[in-house]
Symmetry: C2
Subunit: 408 residues, 2 copies
């Protein structure tokens, strides 16, 4: 992916999944959660080429199984139905039946084949869906008063403290193309699909195989580089729906503006991923680990993930303690054969470790830097030319509080 | 290792490294820490066959490098010198010089070759040892008033809240053989050598190769099966010194009572490992994960370690929440191809999950069980005949407090 000058891509902070042509969305309270919205949808005017990435957890929740089977039929879907408050995970045969029924009922409302509907769920594990409430909800959800992407963004949240959205626009073949996305997730977040859902829509005209290639590539650099607590959930999923209404020439890897599209998708996914990390359960800071000088991209990613996953690094950052020893230690157990005597570490602008030795630091200044809401740590392995970035958050009293009492 | 009837092995709760014949120990305050003891030693009357296991972290601290080189000369050492308060890690060439000087100075006091001394350090990373204080300490440490294993056990502690000790006795060839041990460690604790030090002494007469074989075997089942926070330190080390003064026939794997010795060593190492887990930073509970029905020992260990390392499982146990969903999820991302539909989970005596589905539980009763100081979770994979046990602790407000402010 080559760098694209920013004036070719317009970033829109507040827009989301309905910015691209031909998509509408909505959400409502059907009664799974006590008060907040808990059922949402996205619908495209026409079937959309769809690519998905899914959790690597062996316990894939029922809706993930149903959704993957459905997408496999034509590589297209036309709508997504999401509930929050109940994950429909570890629910056996009945869970599959319920996911299929959600799909069928919503298909009936929309007048389309069930396999055009992706279903997904997030919330408590191991309880059956309250199907009576969901059935009643599906009957009303398309009503005018439930419409709007704000309702959708609200309806997919669990312990999140805010909605997460981003959109970009750029021109391909002289046609305006939009990509918009929203995501949820703040606990059980770890690379290889966190407890997170991501929904991305675009009006780009693009071939399925190429869309999937781009999504996998971008996911490895974005959603798979965040962690909140090291726990990989049963329900993670990111879907990109491309309905082609922008009317550009079919995008493939050979298209001269392919990189522009991938870069736009990357901006959307990276922004959604960082927003999840920043909204990590109990978090007060977004932490970014930039690794450079690695001998391979996988080495760079492994070192970044090892550091961002360290409870000791995360508590030190919460305590604004410039404790580079913990950063170096986490790099040292990453499994990557780094050279201790080549390693350099900076906290913000402050060099704290160089060539295997600590640097004299102005402790109070570095402590002051760590009081920022966004903390950047740079690690140079000085072994090669590869880089990667990982994102996470600090580990706080509130993380313990939320997870000692919230039933996920 | 076959099971040994308990009446063949006597377990002594309060005894430690000086129970075996010919060992003495001591400790003192030399000024690295503010008040508490910070320099300790063990000396054997005669050179002892010695086996060690060391951290897998790429940043091995200077004393580990020096100690390994020294042991390699004759597979024997006669004394150990330990300081706490400073890890002598990430200290470059000067760190190596300091570790060698500690070794040389203590050798001078004892009148033996430096390579007979193991040196080790634990505490803050990245600061040079205060060698003036250590030198002055070494001159006095053998004084009568510093003698006693209690002083040694105190001198090796960092954030530990208590000393850790255990000893066993049994007969081999009609001779009484003793094994005694002590350990430290309560944070930066993760399998593959935690931030922990373990010192085990025995008067058994045993061949070096066999002692190393036994230690590695036992370590994989004990010290490598504990975790506090998933961070593998730079300074971990377990040493076993066997001085032969029990005068039994040379122990080798062919000796008819080999299993008895290994079992005795296992009792000592398992007890020390569990004491470290229970004294985990901020911990209120010792958590034991028993995995059975695995298709291999490595699969059993991987599932156990995955569950005991999960922040979400650990906070749920702190909150006495019978949240089996998090246990199942952690098993699901362990990397082991488990069969969801065969999995069973019990919390204490309470079956909470069976054949891939939740069991109806008396929530309040299970909650009551989780209020115990010792919590046992059993996971049956129902795929084979292998078992493993992992130990850890809950994740509490105090863990965050200790690690947001303590500089390790």
């Amino acid at each position: 992916m080559q760098a694209i000058s920013s004036n070719e891509i317009t970033v829109l902070d507040k827009e989301s999944v309905t910015l691209p042509k031909g998509f509408k969305a909505g959400g409502m309270h059907c009664g799974i959660k006590r008060k907040r919205l808990d059922l949402g949808y996205i619908v495209s005017e026409v079937p959309a080429v769809t690519a998905g990435v899914y959790t690597t957890n062996i316990f894939q929740a029922a809706p993930l199984v149903v959704t993957q089977e459905s997408i496999a039929k034509e590589n297209k879907i036309q709508a997504v139905l999401v509930n929050s408050g109940n994950a429909n995970a570890c629910t056996g045969e009945q869970g599959l039946t319920d996911a299929q029924e959600m799909q069928k009922l919503f298909a009936g409302e929309l007048g389309m084949d069930p396999h055009y509907i992706a279903v997904t769920s997030t919330g408590v594990i191991g309880e059956l869906l309250p199907m009576d409430k969901i059935k009643a909800g599906i009957k009303q959800i398309l009503d005018k008063e439930n419409e709007g992407e704000e309702n959708f963004k609200q309806a997919i949240l669990t312990t999140d403290t805010c909605t997460k959205e981003i959109a970009v626009q750029f021109n391909i073949d002289g046609k305006k193309v939009s990509i918009g996305g929203t995501s949820k997730g703040s606990g059980m977040i770890h690379p290889n699909m966190a407890t997170m859902l991501g929904f991305v829509t675009t009006d780009a005209n693009i071939a399925h195989e190429d869309l999937l290639f781009a999504l996998k590539d971008v996911t490895n650099l974005t959603f798979n580089m965040i962690t909140v607590d090291g726990d990989t959930s049963t329900n993670d999923m990111v879907l990109v729906m491309a309905n082609g209404l922008a009317d550009n020439e079919l995008l493939t890897k050979e298209h001269p503006e392919w990189d522009l599209f991938v870069n736009g998708l990357k901006i959307v996914c990276e922004s959604l991923a960082k927003k999840i990390a920043k909204d990590g359960e109990g978090a007060t800071k977004l932490v970014e680990i930039q690794v450079s000088g690695a001998f391979s991209i996988n080495a760079a990613r492994a070192v970044g993930k090892s550091i961002i996953s360290s409870n000791l690094v995360k508590t030190a950052i919460y305590g604004t303690d410039p404790n580079w020893g913990r950063i170096v230690t986490a790099a040292g157990y990453s499994g990557v054969p780094i050279e201790p005597n080549l390693l350099g570490v900076s906290i913000g602008e402050y060099k704290v470790f160089e060539k295997g030795l600590p640097c004299p630091i102005a402790e109070e200044e570095v402590k002051g830097y760590l009081e920022n809401e966004n903390v950047v740590i740079h690690v140079n392995l000085n072994q090669g030319d590869y880089s990667a970035t990982a994102w996470g958050c600090d580990l706080t009293y509130d993380y313990v509080k939320i997870n000692a009492s919230y039933r996920t």
